[in-house]
Symmetry: C2
Subunit: 493 residues, 2 copies
Amino acid sequence: MTPFDRLMHYQRQTEALGQVAGRLGWDQETVMPRGAAEQRGEETAAMESVLHARRSDPRIGEWLEAIDPAGLSEVGRAQIRLIRRSYERAVKVPADLAAEIARVTSLAQGIWAEARAAEDVAGFLPTLGRVVDLRRQEAAALAGSEGDLYDALLDDYEPGATGAALDQMFGELRPRLVALREAIMGAGHQPAALNHEFPEEGQLRLSRDLARSFGYDFNFGRIDKAVHPFSSGSGRDVRITTRTNPRDPFNCFYSTIHEVGHACYEQNIDPDYGLTPLGRGVSMGVHESQSRIYENQLGRSEAFCGFLYRRMAEEFGDFGVSDARAFYGAVNRVHAGYIRTEADEVHYNLHVLLRFDLEREMIAGRLAVGDLEEAWNSRFAADFGVAVDRPSNGCLQDVHWSVGLFGYFPTYTLGNVYAGCLYQALRAAVPDLDAGLGRGETGAATAWLAENLQRHGGLCEPRETIRRATGMEPGVEPLLAYLEAKFSALYGI
Amino acid sequence: MTPFDRLMHYQRQTEALGQVAGRLGWDQETVMPRGAAEQRGEETAAMESVLHARRSDPRIGEWLEAIDPAGLSEVGRAQIRLIRRSYERAVKVPADLAAEIARVTSLAQGIWAEARAAEDVAGFLPTLGRVVDLRRQEAAALAGSEGDLYDALLDDYEPGATGAALDQMFGELRPRLVALREAIMGAGHQPAALNHEFPEEGQLRLSRDLARSFGYDFNFGRIDKAVHPFSSGSGRDVRITTRTNPRDPFNCFYSTIHEVGHACYEQNIDPDYGLTPLGRGVSMGVHESQSRIYENQLGRSEAFCGFLYRRMAEEFGDFGVSDARAFYGAVNRVHAGYIRTEADEVHYNLHVLLRFDLEREMIAGRLAVGDLEEAWNSRFAADFGVAVDRPSNGCLQDVHWSVGLFGYFPTYTLGNVYAGCLYQALRAAVPDLDAGLGRGETGAATAWLAENLQRHGGLCEPRETIRRATGMEPGVEPLLAYLEAKFSALYGI
C-alpha cells in the first residue's frame, strides 16, 4: 500500500467512528432512556477521546509527509487538504485543554438551562466567562502568534472565512434589513396568523409527505420527534427530527423542510466519497444554504404555498384561512419577536448579526461577559425597535455560547447569503420553477442543487463550491433583492 | 495514580466504548434505515477494531504486572481477575485472525439466511466449513498445546465450564427428559391451544405492563419491536425488544418476560460496578438462569397464569378459554416441534443437547460439516420421535454457527439448570411465593434474586455465583424435579 492508501484506510475508520459518535448524539436526543444521561456522558467522552487521539495520531503526519500531491487526482488532493487541516488543528490543541473544554462545556449546558429557566444572567456569567476563556486559549493555540483569535474558531465551521470579511458582508446587509423591517412594520397591513388546532398525527403525516416531496430518501434515513429539530449523520444513514405544536403546524412543516435540506445535502453527496472527508457537507454555511433554500426560497414561495394550502385543507378540513393568498401571507407573516429560532426571513439575519458582533468582541477580549446583557439589550432595541423584556428573551435564549460554539452563529446568515445566490442561479436555470412548485413538485430545483452543489461534498472550499454552482462571486445582493421583492409585494410597500 | 487506578481508568473507557458498540447493534435491529446496512458494517468493524486494540494494549500487561493483588479488596481482585482474562485472551489471538473471523462471519450470516430460505444445506457447507476452521484456529491459539479446543471457545461464554463437565451434566438430563417427553406424548390428553386473534396494540400494552410487573425499570431502558427479541446494554441503559404474532400472544408476553429477566440482571447490578468488568452479568449461563426463571418458573407458574388469564380477559375480552386451569394448560402445552426457539420447557433442553454434542464434535474435528445434516437428523429422530422434514426445520434453523458462536448453545441449558437450583432456594426463602404471583406481584421473587445474585454482577465466577445464591452445589436434580412435578400434574401421568 502507498502512503496515500494507508492514510485513506486509516481515515476511513476514523470517519466510520465519527458516524458512530454522531449517532450516539441522535440516540440521546430521540430514544435514550432518561436515567441513562450520566452513563451516556462517559460513553460520549470515551468516543471523543478515541476520535481526538486518532485525528492527532503522528502517523498521519508521516503519511502526509510521504505523499506527493502532484501524483494525485483532484479528488485525492482534496482529501489530503481536508485531512491535513483536521490533523493540524488536532495537534495544535493540547489534549488537556481539549478535555477541559469538553468537560466544562458539558457542565455549562446544564448551568445555562437552569439560568435561563430562572432568568438569572448573573448565575450564568462565571460559567460563560470560563467557556470564553477556554475557547480563547484554544484559539490562541490554533492561531499562533500572528493570527486572529476569532478567525481561528470560525475556521472550524467555515474554512476560509474571516471575521473581517463577514463583518464587511454583514455591514452591507444590516442597514437594508433594518430599513425593510421598518417599512414592513409601518405598512399598517398585517396578514392574519393561523387560529386553529391541528392534530399531531396529521402534522406528522403531512411532514413526512413534505420530506418525500423535497427528495428525502427514507431508505437512508428516518424522522423522529425530538425537542429540537436537527439532522444527523452522513452518507447512507442521515436522520432528521421534527416537533409539533398543535397551534402552529408551520413550525413542524418548515423545520422538517429545513432539516430535509441538510439531510438531502448529505444523502446526495457522491457515494464514492462515502466515509471519507469529502463525504460530508463542506461547511456549516454551505449546509445552511441548503436547509434555507429548501425551507424559504422553495418552501415559503407563493407557488409552493398554494400547494401546501390545498394539502392542509385535505388533511385538516377548513382551518379558517379563506384562500391561497391569505395562506401565503400567514406563512410569511413578519412579526416582531425576541426569539431567533421563531424569527421570520426578515428578522432572522438581524438576530444573527447581533450575536456575531457580540461574540467577536468577547473572543477579542473587548467585551467582558459582565457587560454582555447590556450590550445585547441596547443593540436589540436599535435593530428591532423593542426592548428586551427578560433574559430568556435576550442573551440567555441560545444554547450556543454555553457549549462553546463561538464562530458558529455567522454561518447561519452566510447560509442565507449563499441561498440567495443559489436561488438566483436556479431561477435562471429552471425558468418554469413555479409551475412545478405549485404542484408540490420540487424535483427540478432539488435535482439542480444536487447536481451543481450537493454531490460534490467537500471537493472544493466553501466559497468555491458556491462559485462553481452559481457562476458568480458570492455576495449579499441576490438575498437582499429576493427579500425586498418578496416582502414589498406581500406588504404593498 | 497507582497502577491499579490507571488500569481501572483505562478499563472504564473501554467499557464505555463497549456499551457504544452494543448500542450500535441495538440500533441496527430496531431503528436503522434499511439502506444503511453496508455503511453500518464498516462502522461496526471500526468499533470492534478499536475495542480489540484497547483490550490487547500492552500497557494492560504492564499495569497488571505492577499491581499486587494482596493489597486489593475482594472487589478489586475480582476486577483484576476479569481484566486479566480478557487481556490474555485478546493477546493470544493474532489480530489478522480476529479480523478474518469478523469478516467471514459477517458475510456468513447472509449466506446462511439465503441457504435457509432456499433449503440449501450444500450451499451453506463451504461457508460453515470455513467458519469452523477459523474458530478452530482461534481455539488453538487460545488453548495452547495442552488445552481442549472446545473448552477454549466455551470459556468465552461460560468461564470455568468445560465440555467434559457439561457432557456429564447433560448426560444426566437427557434420558429423563426423553422419558418425560414420551410419557407426556403418550398421555392421550392434550391441553387446547389458543384459537383467537389478539390485536397487536393490546399485546404491546400488556407486555409493557408485564415488564413493569417483573421489575423492569423504564427509566433505564425501553422496549421496541424487532424481528428477534433480545436484551442489550448494561448499567443505566438496558433495552429490550419484543415481537407480536396476532395468533400467538404468548410469544410476545413470554419473550418479553424472558428479556426482562436478562435486563433486570443488568439493571440490578450494584451501581458502584457501573462501567467496570464487574458491572455486567457474569456469564451467559447465569444470564440465562435469570431470563428462564422469570419466564418459566415464575411466569409460567399456575399462580401467575391465573393472574395473566384475568389480565388478558380485561384486555381482549372473551378469547375462548373457559377457565384459569385451561389457560394454564394452554400456556404450558407440550408439543412436538422442530424449532428450538418455539419449544416448550420439556423439549427445549433436548434441542440444546443435540446442538452441544454436534458442535463439540465439529470443533474437535470428529464430525465433518459434510456429515452434519445426517448427524442432526438421526439424533433428532432419536430424541424427538419425528423425522426432520426440511433443513430450515433442522440443521439450518439457528443463526449461531454461521456467526461462529461455538460454545454458546450449552449455556442455554446450563441456565435452565441454574434456574432450577435458584427456584428451589427461592421457594424455601419465600414460602408464600404463589400468593403474590397470583396477584401478579413478582416483587418477593425478584427482590430475592436481585439481593442474592443479580447485584453481585461479575464478583464471583459463575458456579460460585449460583452456589452463594442458593447455598447448594449446582446440579440437574432441582430442574428435573421441577419439570417432572409440573408436567406430571398437568398431564396426569
